[in-house]
C-alpha cells in the first residue's frame, strides 16, 4: 500500500529525513518510533503531500506522492499531533465541516458523523463547543475527524501526546479497532509501550535515518536474549567489580550509564546471588537494583546510545 524509497527532506543544510526506506502492506499498522526531532512528523508530512521531498520516491496506493498528490489525498486521512479542530464550533459542526470538504452531504454525512461521535464516545457532547472539552475528548475528536471520509490510509502523528493514561487507553483501543477493520495505519510515537502494544511492524528512526525495521520479535532478537542489571555502586569500587564480574558465568559485559552500573547477562536471575555475595564481601548494600528484559528501549539504547525520551 505504501512504498518509501530513499526519501530525503532537507531544511537548508539539515537533513531532517535522510534516505529512509520502508514498505507498509494494506491493513498493516506500522509504527514509526523515535524521539522528538527524529524526523517522524517530517516523514509523514512528505507522505501526506504537505511537504515536497528533496530526494527519493514515495507512493501510496500506487500513486506517486509528488506527481499525483490529488489522488494520494483522496486515499489518506491524517491526525496531526496538534488538536487541529475549530474549538469555537461544536463536535458535530467540526465533523460535518470536514465531511463537506470531502464532498459528503445529506444523510450519508449525518449517519457517518453520528457513527464517529459514538466511536469517540462524544455522542452526548455532540452539540457542545470543543473549547469546553477535556484534553482526552479533544484528542478523540481529533482522531475521528481524520476518519470522516473513510480513508484507506490513516496517518496518526503522536495522537496520545499530553493526555492521561485513561484517555490514552481509550484512544489506543479505537486504533486497535480501526486496524482490525482493514485500514492501513502509520503511527508515529516516542512511547515505546504504545509501539510495542499496537504495531505489527516498527521502524526506528534516529536523526532522520531508519536505524532498525521489523516486527517486535525481529527487532528484539537483534540484541539477543539479554537481561540488563542496573544498580548503584560507589565509584571507588567499580574497577574491582569490573574485574571480578567478567569471571561470573553468563556475564556478557559491564558498563556505566547515567551514574549507574549496568551488567548485561544471559540470565540475570542466576547472576544476582553472586552479585549479592560480592556486595556483602565489600560491606556494601545492593541499592536501586533493576533487572530489565530486552525490549525496544534496550534496542534503541544499543542502536543510538540514547534513550527515547532524551
Amino acid at each position: 500500500m505504501i512504498q518509501v524509497n530513499e526519501l530525503v527532506k532537507k531544511y537548508g543544510s539539515h537533513r531532517a529525513v535522510d534516505g529512509i526506506s520502508f514498505d507498509v502492506a494494506k491493513g498493516e499498522l506500522f509504527g514509526l518510533l523515535g524521539p522528538n526531532g527524529a524526523g517522524k512528523t517530517t516523514t509523514i508530512s512528505v507522505l501526506a503531500t504537505l511537504l515536497p521531498a528533496n530526494g527519493g520516491r514515495a507512493s501510496i496506493g500506487g500513486h506517486d506522492v509528488a506527481g499525483d498528490a490529488a489522488a494520494v489525498r483522496r486515499l489518506i486521512g491524517i491526525v496531526p499531533q496538534e488538536i487541529a479542530l475549530y474549538t469555537d464550533l461544536s463536535a458535530r459542526d467540526n465533523l460535518e465541516f470536514w465531511g463537506r470538504l470531502y464532498g459528503m452531504g445529506g444523510a450519508v454525512l449525518k449517519n457517518r458523523v453520528t457513527e464517529l461521535l459514538d466511536m469517540a464516545e462524544l455522542g452526548e457532547q455532540a452539540s457542545q463547543k470543543v473549547s469546553t472539552f477535556s484534553g482526552g475528548m479533544k484528542r478523540r475528536l481529533n482522531l475521528v475527524v481524520g476518519l470522516v471520509h473513510s480513508p484507506e490510509v490513516l496517518f496518526l502523528d503522536e495522537p496520545t501526546v499530553g493526555i492521561d493514561a485513561q484517555a490514552r487507553s481509550r484512544i489506543l483501543e479505537i486504533i486497535r479497532g480501526l486496524s482490525g477493520s482493514g485500514l492501513t495505519v502509520i503511527y508515529t510515537t516516542h512511547y515505546l509501550e504504545e509501539a510495542e502494544q499496537l504495531c505489527d511492524r516498527i521502524g526506528v528512526i534516529d536523526q532522520g535515518k531508519m536505524v532498525a525495521l521489523g516486527d517486535k520479535e525481529e527487532l528484539i532478537s537483534q540484541i539477543g536474549d539479554e537481561d540488563l542489571i542496573r544498580f548503584q555502586l560507589d565509584p571507588g569500587l567499580r574497577a574491582a567489580l569490573g574485574s571480578i564480574a567478567e569471571t561470573w558465568t553468563g556475564c556478557l559485559g559491564i558498563a556505566e550509564r547515567r551514574g549507574k552500573v549496568e551488567i548485561r547477562a544471559r540470565d540475570g536471575a542466576r547472576l544476582l546471588p553472586e552479585l549479592q555475595a560480592w556486595f556483602q564481601t565489600q560491606g556494601q548494600t545492593l541499592e536501586q537494583l533493576e533487572v530489565d528484559r530486552p525490549n525496544l528501549e534496550t534496542l534503541y539504547l544499543n542502536l543510538t546510545g540514547r534513550g527515547l525520551r532524551e
Binding site: A48, L50, P52, A70, R74, A84, L85, L89, Y102, G103
Partner: protein, 446 residues
Amino acid sequence: MRIIALVRKDLQRVLGDRRALFVNLALPLVLTFIIGLSFGGGFLGSGGGISAIPVVMVSEELPALLTERITEGLEESGFFTVSWADSSTADALVREGTAAAAVVLPQDLVERFFSAENLVIEVWKDPGSALKAGIVEEILRRALTRYQAGEAAYRALWPDEEMAQVGDAEARIWRNLLDGNFTEVWENWRSARGDTTFTAAAERMALTMDRHAALSRAMGETRITLAVADKAPAGQTDDDGQVNLFNFFLPSFSVFFLMFSVAGSCRDIHRERTTGTLQRQLLSPLGDLEFMLAKWSSAVVQAVFQLLVLFLSGALLFRVNLGPDIWSLPLAVLTCCTAGVGVFMLLALLSRTEKIMDNLSTVVVLVSAMLGGNMMPIDAMPAWLRAVGHYVFNYWANLSFHNIMAQDTGIAADPQPVLVLAVVSLILLAVNLLLFRSRVRRGGLA
C-alpha cells in the same frame, strides 16, 4: 460546494464570537451615535437628523462677488448653513445660541488686503455649542494656514514684488472690479487711457492674478473643482435645510472598523496554520487555489455583511442616506470589501507568523485611515494628503461612500472610485492566489 462549506464554517465561527460581533457591528454604531449626539443629532430620525452648523458672517461692505463665493464655499462642505448679518445682529444670534459661531471679517477687507495690511478675522463662539463652534474655528484656521502657505510660497518665488501701498484712486478701481461694476471700469478705461493709476492697478491685478493662478496650479489646489461642484449636498439636506452629519460619520467609521475586521479574517490563515486546521484542509480534495478562493470569499462575505448591517442600521437609526438608486451602494460596498480583503490577504501571505501579521495590519490600518480620509473628511484633507491617499484603497472606498451617501451621487454619475476599487480587487486577487500557491508549494504553510 466545498467553497460554500468553508464560507459557512467561517461565518458560523464569526457569528458565535460575541466579542467580534460587538467590535465589528455594535462599536461603529455606538461611536457614530455618540459623535452624532455631540453635534446635537437625534435618534430614530427625531428632528430630521442633525442640523448643519449655523454660521453668521459679518462684513459691513464686502463686494457681492466675494460674499457669494464665501457662502458657496462654506455650504458646499455640507457642514454649514451660512447667513450674513451686521455685527450687532450676529452678536445677538450667537448669544442666544441661534448661530454656533460668527466670523467677523475686518472692515475695508479688500482695500486693506491689497494694501498688505495685517488683517484680523474674529470668531465669536457660542459657549453652549462648543463643539460646533470649535469645528468652525478649526476649519477657518486650516483655511488660513493654507492661504498663508500660499502667500509664503508667493513671496518666496517673487521676493521683489512687495505689495505697494495703493492710493485711493487705485483702491477705487480694485473695488469696482471686485464689485463687478464693469461699466464703470470700462468707461474709466476708455476716457482715461493714459491714467497711470488705472494702468498701474490693471497691470498689478493682471500680474497678481496670473501668479496666483500659476501658484495655485503648482500647489495643486482644487479651486476649479470647488467652483464646478456648486451643487448642494442634496442627500443630507432635507426640506428644513438640515444636514445629516451621520452621512459623513457612519461610512467613515464603518470603513475604519471594516479594515480591522478584514485584517482579522485574513489573519485567520495564520491561526489555522498554527492549530493545524490549514494543513488538514490542504490535504482535502479542496486544493490550494480552491482553498484560497474560499478563504477570500469568506472574508468578503463577512465584510459585506458587516457594512450592510451597519448601513442599514444607520438608515433606520440615524436616517442615513443610502444613495440615489438601489445598486450604487451595494456595488460600492462589494468593491470596497473585495479590495480591502485583497490588501489584508496580501499582508497575511507576506507575513511569516500571526504576530507579524498582527503588528503589520495594525500599522497599515492606522496609516491607511489617516491617509485615506477616515480620520478627517475628504473635503477637509489638504491637497498633498489627498494625492497620497490615492494609493490606499480606503480613500477610494471613502470617496465612493461620500459620493453616494453624502452627495447623493450615483455610480453612473461618478464611476471612478468604484472602478478603481474593482481593478485593485482583481489585481490583488490574482497576486494573492499566486502567492498562496507559491507558499504552499514551497511548504511555507505546512
